[in-house]
């Protein structure tokens, strides 16, 4: 049973570019949440998707957007990249109504 998977594992972009990160939830899970983790900090909630809709959003600008597909996989898009967007981006999946979220290994994004 595969856990949460994310791709790519690492990514280097330059300022102003756009990036798309991908996540496949754990088998049986239908809810996907995205988090940003800066170096030395705890993960910060970006948004959560359920039934292909954004259900809740954290304190992130509109440059951060997402999508959930019918198979429950999800994408995180970041436009007009800034240096400060450099971070580990984590995807977590869960089953709607259940508290426990399971995290993927993350995508390390470096913006130059």
């Amino acid at each position: 049973d595969a856990g949460v998977t994310q791709s790519p594992t690492h990514l280097i972009k330059t300022r102003g570019q756009q990036v798309t990160l991908r996540c496949s939830p754990k088998s049986g899970h239908d809810t996907v949440s995205w988090y940003q983790q800066a170096l030395g900090q705890g993960p910060q909630f970006i948004f959560q998707y359920y039934e292909e809709e954004e259900r809740q959003r954290g304190n992130f600008p509109d440059r951060f957007s997402g999508h959930q597909f019918p198979n429950y996989s999800s994408e995180l898009n970041v436009n007009a990249l800034l240096l400060g967007d450099s971070a580990l981006y984590l995807c977590a999946s869960s089953s709607d109504g259940q508290e426990t979220q399971y995290f993927g290994p993350g995508t390390r994004l470096l913006v130059l």
């Binding site: 030395g40 993960p43 995290f103 290994p105």
Partner: protein, 113 residues
């Protein structure tokens, strides 16, 4: 703003029991307490979750007093591989009924030989 307070770091030796206490004075009635472990450049890993009293699994124990304003994660007989950051989280149930995990800065545990 994080809803929890925990020590920034702790040191221990192999074979010892480690107890990490977390304060959550404003915990709500519907909130659960969850602990995650994170190794460098990896996603957090769920350790244990509880609502009240004591919960035990194959990895750890979680002690929650009656007032639920704090909780203690207990790791029995730690090994070098338990060196990690440990996060205490309190469930943040919004109107839609789902949980948005709110992480603090965690406790960095260093286990030495």
């Amino acid at each position: 703003l994080a809803k929890t307070t925990q020590p920034i770091s702790m040191d221990s030796y192999e074979g010892q029991e480690v107890n990490i206490t977390c304060s959550h004075n404003n915990i709500a009635t519907n909130d659960y307490i969850t602990w995650y472990q994170q190794f460098p450049s990896q996603g957090p890993r769920f350790i244990i979750q509880g609502y009240k009293t004591k919960v035990t699994n194959e990895v750890a124990s979680l002690f929650i007093p009656a007032d639920r304003k704090s909780s203690t994660l207990s790791l029995p007989r730690v090994s070098l591989s338990d060196t990690a950051v440990y996060y205490c989280l309190v469930g943040d149930m919004v109107d839609t009924g789902f949980q948005k995990l709110v992480f603090g800065t965690g406790t960095r545990l260093l286990v030495s030989p």
